[in-house]
């Protein structure tokens, strides 16, 4: 079956693992399923291999063991159809293009028609109105990251991969983005993978949080987030939300303690 880029795909990882040249294990063989149309967060300590999993799903990194299939096909297939977008940890904006130019580049690369009004709307959505003709060098780190998010959304991807997209964004803007952005991909029907180390962000944005152990990454817990959508600003103060955040934190510390015991046993 070929991936149909008009519908959000299901992503399946079968004993997906990565060992770097030189023998450093980044990801233990892991089974994962990202359900179609859902947002799944990967949470884990820094350097645990979250981003490596994301890069393997995007087809940018070759797995050492196992494989990724997207609607039954290898990632190369959805790449070929330009059906996915990645918001990279480093905004990776081309310095010689304006914010608008960078967003339009994604459309050009994906061989989509460039719709100026739609690009303007995206720029507005990430709070960069008035900065469309500014070059990245004149923007703050957070603004650059927002431009990168806008670029990732521009091609209306059915598979959206977000690698710590809000790392440099200030707290107020981040809260705003966490409210606004999911509406876009929910409305379109998008399978989203969010890599983050912020537990509240993960709970706020996702339908499911997968907690990873320290390197090499292993799944420690798979927690459903049955909170109503659309998520609203007051949600973070509800007991349900707080309990879920506590669950994720507990799983994170459990994972860290297990890793310590493994090291001690060796």
């Amino acid at each position: 079956m070929r991936p149909d880029v008009t519908h959000p795909p299901t992503v399946t990882c079968d004993s997906l693992g990565k060992t770097w040249k030189g023998g450093l294990a980044a990801v233990s063989p892991t089974d994962l399923v990202l359900h179609a149309g859902q947002t799944t967060a990967l949470v884990g300590p820094s350097g645990c291999g979250k981003s490596t999993i994301l890069r393997m799903v995007a087809g940018l990194e070759t797995p050492s063991t196992g494989c990724v299939t997207i609607d039954g096909a290898p990632p190369a297939e959805i790449l070929r159809r330009a059906g996915l977008s990645v918001a990279f940890q480093d905004p990776s904006l081309l310095p010689w293009r304006t914010v608008r130019g960078n967003i339009e580049l994604a459309l050009t690369l994906a061989r989509h028609p460039v719709d100026r009004a739609a690009v303007d709307q995206l720029i507005m959505l990430v709070g960069l109105d008035g900065f469309g003709d500014t070059r990245p060098a004149e923007l703050s780190g957070g603004m650059r990251q927002r431009a990168a998010i806008a670029r990732a959304l521009a091609t209306e991807p059915r598979l959206l991969l977000l690698d710590e997209p809000f790392g440099a964004v200030d707290e107020l803007t981040r809260q705003q983005l966490v409210q606004d952005l999911p509406r876009i991909w929910e409305a379109r029907g998008t399978t989203t993978l969010l890599v983050t180390h912020s537990v509240t962000e993960a709970v706020m944005l996702s339908d499911r949080v997968i907690v990873l152990s320290p390197r090499p990454a292993k799944v420690v817990a798979d927690i459903d987030i049955p909170l109503p959508r659309p998520r609203f600003p007051g949600l973070a103060r509800t007991p349900e939300f707080v309990t879920l955040v506590d669950d994720v934190f507990a799983a994170l510390s459990h994972g860290a303690a297990m890793a310590d015991r493994t090291i001690a046993a060796q």
Binding site: R55, A58, G59, L60, I78, L79, R80, R81, A82, L84, S85, V86, F88, D90, S92, L94, P95, W96, L105, A106, T108, L109, A110, R135, T155
Partner: protein, 528 residues
Amino acid sequence: MTAASGLAASQHNPWRTTLPGLLIVLLVWEGVGRSMGGTYLLAPPSLVLLWLGDNAGLVGRALSATLSNAAVGFVLGNLAALLLAAMALVWPASQRIVTGVALVVFCLPLVATGPILRVMFGPGNGPQIVLAALAVYYTTLIPLLVGMRAAPASWFDLVRSYGRGPLAALGYIRLMASLPYLFAGLQIAAPAAILGAMVGEFTGAERGLGVLTVRAMRSLDVEMTWALASVATFAAVAAYWGIGALTRAVLRDAPPLILAPPRDDTRRGAPLLRAITGLGGVIAAILVLWGGSIALFGLNPFFAKGPWDVAHAVFWASDAAQTRASLGVALMGTVLLLVPGYLAGLAAGAGLAVVFTLLPKLAGTMMPLAIALRSVPIVTTAPLVVLLLGRGATGTIVLVAVMVFFPTLVACLHGLRQAPGQVMDVFNSYAASPLQRLVRVQIPAMLPAFFAAARMAVPAAVLAVTVVEWLATGIGVGTLMALSASVSDYDMLWAAVVLAASLSALGYAGVGLIESRILRIYAPEQLT
């Protein structure tokens, strides 16, 4: 790039910043020139201008001949660089060979390739154009190769994440990312093209500044010599500034200073084995190109000697021992002039950069002048230094030192500015003295630029020493080449060319070896 923008800013209005320094130089020149009247050494600027006024037509015709040859060579050389860079990009495994052969060809002493080309082309513009092209292609090729790769990996990931291949990466990323590097290369290349064209004219052209320079020297016409040198210098500086202005019109960022040679993407096997196979590949490629082009163009075997002929003359011919002895004596003579001048130039360049950093006001006045003088063609200064210091060793050593001095100064000043701002802030927060900052932060930060300059200065120093030997000194490889050319001993001429090119390439590689050891400690990011 931010540090380089300081340099660019001082170039923005060259006249306002340079004028004080220029005036001082002119006044000193005038004063010394007047006091030395009648000694046939130094003509003051007033007399130089007078001479130029009287001979405007002659100089204008010569200048236009030289410039048009330089321009054609500039275009051809840069086209060759573009093609070579494209080849290395399309077929990465070829990069080692391409850069290795390019370096050795760049190290060929212009004064020796000149006569050979002259014999091949006969009278006309051929040698001037070829030498101008040879003088520029390397300084464009290396920045292009660096620039094509000077993009973060995530930009290429971005292109791949939309399902696009290497061609899209080339079009949307590599070409744009390499532009600042390309312009940086072109700016250095513009004066070099004029230098190449003038060396071509030295070898017996009909028209051009080089022809007049040789005539002026022969007739000991001091005013004419200084006038021609001034005109050539002015043309070179104008070319340098012209490309600089074009760069600022096209690019938003100042062009970067190129430090490390392009990294090798095809690392396989043990380092030593790689080095040996790389070197073997380069030598094999050169021998094939050398012998092949002689056969291909059907060159006259009387003057076109292949690798086999040279090997025969040096090792197996009846007079091989004598040939080897002459080459050895010449090599010793050259090395004795080259090494002191090279080291003195490096020391003076780095030393003055440090002084300028401690006295920033002085630097503001002198820097634009130094940047301009960096582009002065050596050929125009050679006759002057010979006039001033005589035909002995001192003149040659001084000239080599001058040749090495300016690029080293400019690179070291750039390097001193590379000191990381946050580390400087830490030192300032402890109220560290300027000297402490200099020794502990700025000088270590300067080392990569210093070694890059030292490496690039080797071929320049060999060029300088062979030019002066050719023109004046009477010892060394340059003289040997001049003598062999004049008595049509082409075996000896080719052997001397091989010797000078090997000296240059080995020196370059040797400095590169020291450089990579130092960079491993002080600037590991330049190596990966």
